[in-house]
Amino acid sequence: MILYTSDTNNLEITYIITTFFILLFSLVYENFSHGVMSINMLTAFIYPIIGYILISRKKTNVLTINLVNMSVITLTLYNIMKGVLDIYGTTNNLINIYLYIGIILVICTVISLIIKKGGGRK
């Protein structure tokens, strides 16, 4: 199934709003962190931007869009949670689960994009 403009437009708007929300959240959180800086927190908004670029491509199939969505939310949450823990000065090994799942989802997304591209050439 291929998604066309109306569906992807809604999703694009969601991604733009999410990007600004994450950026605002990071800046406000950093502002109250008493000088403790977390690169993870400050760069969390990059994933929604990448997601926006990927889903903005024409003729993106449903599976790919779902994979992009899941990759973006996983990696964004990883960065935000890592930032929260760093700023508080603590650790929790469980947050690595975000990273592992996120990497698997990104690999699946890339495979999905390659298969689609390969299919397009035939």
Binding site: M37, I73, G89, L94
Partner: protein
């Protein structure tokens, strides 16, 4: 409706990962895990003379403490000058007498439980998964976090070590009685060992600070600075180290600061601890104290 159907996998996954995130937050900050109940050690009070004490001093046959207030770098700094007859009066204690995770109490409450004369917050071991925890001669955690630690030996000697260079067991064998795992070291061999750009958890801003220093045999200082208030800006690590140097510390070490920074003396909180922008004491995992 069609859109929801198309993105159903994403929606279900999002709900799942939000629950997972809530679990991590609870696991990190809320859920208590008790690993070991500890009997906080008490030493017999061998003082036979009279005890003299007021808001700024305490004196008996074994312990003499004088509290002074300084004003530097737009910050109020509280210094407890300690002279002990026996180094064993310098001790540590756990919140709720328990070694565990998310087990915390106010510094003043722990201090009262162990009848401390003077106390400051410790290294807040409970927020870390690793880093040596060796308190009053017992190892509770021996996993290295690569921290720069302050080792307090039975004979009162202070030594700065790196957890990657020596094991907790080796330190115990050498006579370590307490290890404080936070850092960094501020002064070793009378020299400042932090630079103006040194950071704790990437923070080099002015903040409330807690530090411990050794001036000479059985002569120590506990230092706590205010910060994050309109009347006190707080200190950078370098400013703290410079101040400790003016107190003639041979060795000085930075402990957990920020909202944790608290000094308790003769039943009262001395400084102005700040939590979430308000003057309020924050609960911690452990304290360093002077007492019997």
């Amino acid at each position: 409706m069609i859109i929801i159907k198309k993105y159903l996998i994403s929606i279900i996954y999002t709900v799942f990962i939000i629950f997972f995130t809530i679990f991590i937050i609870l696991d990190t900050f809320v859920i208590k895990q008790s690993y070991q109940i500890v009997k906080n050690e008490t030493t017999e009070n061998t003082s036979s003379g009279t005890i003299t004490k007021d808001d700024n001093s305490y004196k008996d046959d074994n312990i003499e403490i004088n509290l002074k207030e300084y004003r530097q770098n737009d910050t109020t700094i509280y210094v407890a000058d300690i002279v002990l007859k026996d180094q064993n009066y310098l001790k540590t204690a756990f919140a709720e007498s328990t070694y565990g995770k998310n087990i915390t109490e106010n510094t003043s409450d722990i201090a009262k439980e162990v009848n401390a004369i003077l106390a400051i917050n410790g290294d807040y071991y409970g927020v870390q998964k690793s880093g040596y925890v060796l308190k009053n001669g017992t190892i509770y955690r021996n996993t290295s976090a690569g921290n720069e630690d302050l080792v307090i030996y039975k004979n009162g000697t202070f030594e700065i070590i790196n957890e990657n260079d020596v094991t907790a067991e080796e330190l115990l064998e050498k006579g370590a009685y307490n290890i404080l795992s936070f850092g960094p070291a501020l002064i070793t061999n009378n020299k400042i060992v932090v630079s103006e750009n040194d950071e704790v958890a990437k923070a080099m801003n002015s903040n409330p600070r807690t530090a411990i220093g050794k001036i000479s045999d059985n002569h120590y200082v506990f230092v706590v600075s205010d910060g994050r208030t309109t009347s006190s800006e707080g200190l950078t690590l370098y400013q703290l180290a410079s101040f400790m140097q003016t107190l003639n510390c041979q060795t000085a070490y930075n402990l957990d600061g920020g909202g944790s920074s608290t000094m308790y003396f003769n039943g009262n909180i001395v400084n102005n601890p700040t939590t979430n922008g308000k003057v309020n004491e924050r609960s911690v995992s452990d304290i360093v104290y002077i007492g019997y």
